[in-house]
């Protein structure tokens, strides 16, 4: 090595694969940081970038409208947009992306922002006929199904999306059954006590919630009714029950969209592994200079997890990544403290907001308000150390936990 500083010149052509929130915001951050080379965005969907969180909430009630959902632009991008186009392969040595149009895009800076896609039900038939939610078209189809007279709706999976869909469907007057394999809704993200609160909330609004339960089989629509028959099995194997549903929504979480990277040599098994600058790593753990990963697809070191890598599928994480990744590509690594993970979900009229990684805690403490009033603040600690805080209908109260959580994230940042 001639020098310990990166001798790479500034890139002249940055290709962004993935044209949703993370890709768009990274492109913007590049321009804001002064990048004046060519910029190409490749997006699998035919639309300009839009905001996904409303797809399980208001947009599901009113019907998704691209004009409302479009992500506003902070800066003039002066970019080439290749929409309705997918990347199918990556050559990191030759620095080229192969597209499904057979075109090869040469780059000297690459942003991997392909996001994640819904995990499908195992059965082909059920998978084809059930709904899931990721795209505008998905939300549009489910909106259509829910716009009809009160129906029996089965939601499989009570993570954030499934819980929100169940809440929205119940608010529209549908009879909702919600099935969750773990002991409670969003239990991995919130821990048992807050999950139990969400379970009570669902049940108080008429949602028939089955926890520690899986769908053993899901029959295809039969006869004129076109209804599904689902057989539910409790984890203990002791009880079986069945549910008849007109509409089935699978919300089994998402898997990172990395099929196109299988032959690339990148460590992309469970999301693209990165270092703390968001530079992608190959399967031997070497950083691939000029290649960064952002948003849902990126598996990044987490200070709140002691530096272990994890994918964080939060909206705010995608935005935070964008600035850091742009700085890395331009040889201006971010010096600012990393933004805390932050998330929200709206269910049955309760605004739940969180910061940090509450799921990493082992103890829940209500520090303000009361769960029965639907107005409270809870902390989550691990070994006595704060790792996250969650507020119901009291977002302003989270402010006071910020500095303590931020001190953890900055204190454990590895030095470059």
């Amino acid at each position: 090595m001639l020098s310990c500083t990166d001798p790479r010149p500034a890139p002249r052509h940055v290709v962004v694969v993935g044209a949703s929130l993370a890709g768009l915001r990274t492109a913007e951050a590049l321009r804001r940081a002064g990048f004046d080379g060519a910029l190409t965005l490749v997006g699998r969907e035919p639309h300009m970038p839009y905001n996904r969180p409303p797809l399980t909430k208001g947009a599901l009630v009113a019907g998704p409208d691209l004009a409302v959902l479009a992500l506003p632009r902070a800066v003039e991008l002066d970019a080439t947009w290749l929409l309705g186009v997918s990347a199918v392969d990556l050559d990191v040595v030759g620095r080229r992306v192969l597209l499904d149009t057979n075109e090869r895009l040469a780059y000297d800076g690459l942003v991997i922002a392909t996001g994640a896609e819904p995990r499908r039900l195992p059965s082909d038939v059920a998978s084809a006929l059930s709904h899931h939610i990721r795209t505008l078209e998905d939300a549009s189809a489910l909106h259509g199904a829910l716009a009809k007279a009160p129906r029996r709706v089965l939601v499989i999976g009570a993570g954030f999306l499934g819980s929100e869909v169940a809440s929205t469907a119940a608010s529209l007057g549908h009879r909702v059954t919600l099935v969750e394999a773990t002991p409670g809704p969003m239990s991995a993200a919130l821990g048992p006590e807050l999950s139990a609160y969400c379970a009570r909330l669902h049940r108080s609004r008429g949602v028939d919630l089955h926890t520690s339960t899986t769908v053993r089989s899901l029959g295809s629509p039969e006869g004129a009714s076109g209804a599904f028959l689902a057989v539910l099995a409790r984890e203990d194997g002791l009880r079986h029950s069945h549910v008849v549903a007109d509409v089935v929504v699978s919300a089994l979480g998402a898997t990172p969209s990395t099929t196109w990277l299988q032959a690339s040599g990148l460590d992309a098994e469970a999301g693209v592994a990165t270092d703390h600058t968001l530079t992608a790593l190959d399967s031997a753990g070497n950083a691939i200079s000029g290649v960064v990963a952002v948003g849902d697809v990126a598996r990044t070191p987490q200070p709140l997890l002691g530096g272990a890598r994890a994918r964080i599928e939060h909206w705010t994480t995608a935005v935070e990544h964008s600035r850091r990744a742009a700085g890395t590509l331009l040889g201006q690594p971010a010096s600012a403290e990393p933004t805390l993970p932050s998330f929200w979900t709206d269910q049955h009229g309760v605004q739940i907001r969180g910061i940090g990684l509450p799921g990493a805690g082992d103890t829940t403490t209500i520090v303000d308000g009361a769960m029965e009033d639907h107005h409270f603040v809870a902390t989550r600690t691990r070994g006595g150390r704060l790792v996250g805080a969650v507020a119901a209908n009291n977002a302003p109260a989270l402010f006071r936990f910020r500095s303590e959580l931020a001190s953890v994230t900055s204190a454990t940042q590895p030095t470059p």
Partner: protein, 72 residues
């Protein structure tokens, strides 16, 4: 620089109060307070708030002419 919050869109995520606490804050009742014409030293933080707002409710305009107070 003029900062506006579309309160029809605002969902009280409060991320702006984290990224630009000198410009955005919650009062004791939990209502969002906004310094509508912050000094130029706050520009970077305010622009970050625009990008970080999940409800897409924060906007910045560069209208140099001082607009009169709008009466609702």
């Amino acid at each position: 620089m003029r900062v506006t919050v579309d309160f029809d869109r605002c969902e009280a995520h409060g991320l702006c109060t984290l990224t630009a606490p000198e410009v955005f804050s919650f009062d004791v009742r939990g209502s969002l307070r906004v310094v509508e014409e912050p000094g130029p030293e706050h520009r970077a933080a305010v622009e970050e708030s625009v990008r970080m707002c999940p409800a897409l409710a924060v906007q910045v305009t560069d209208d140099r002419t001082r607009s009169d107070a709008v009466v609702h």
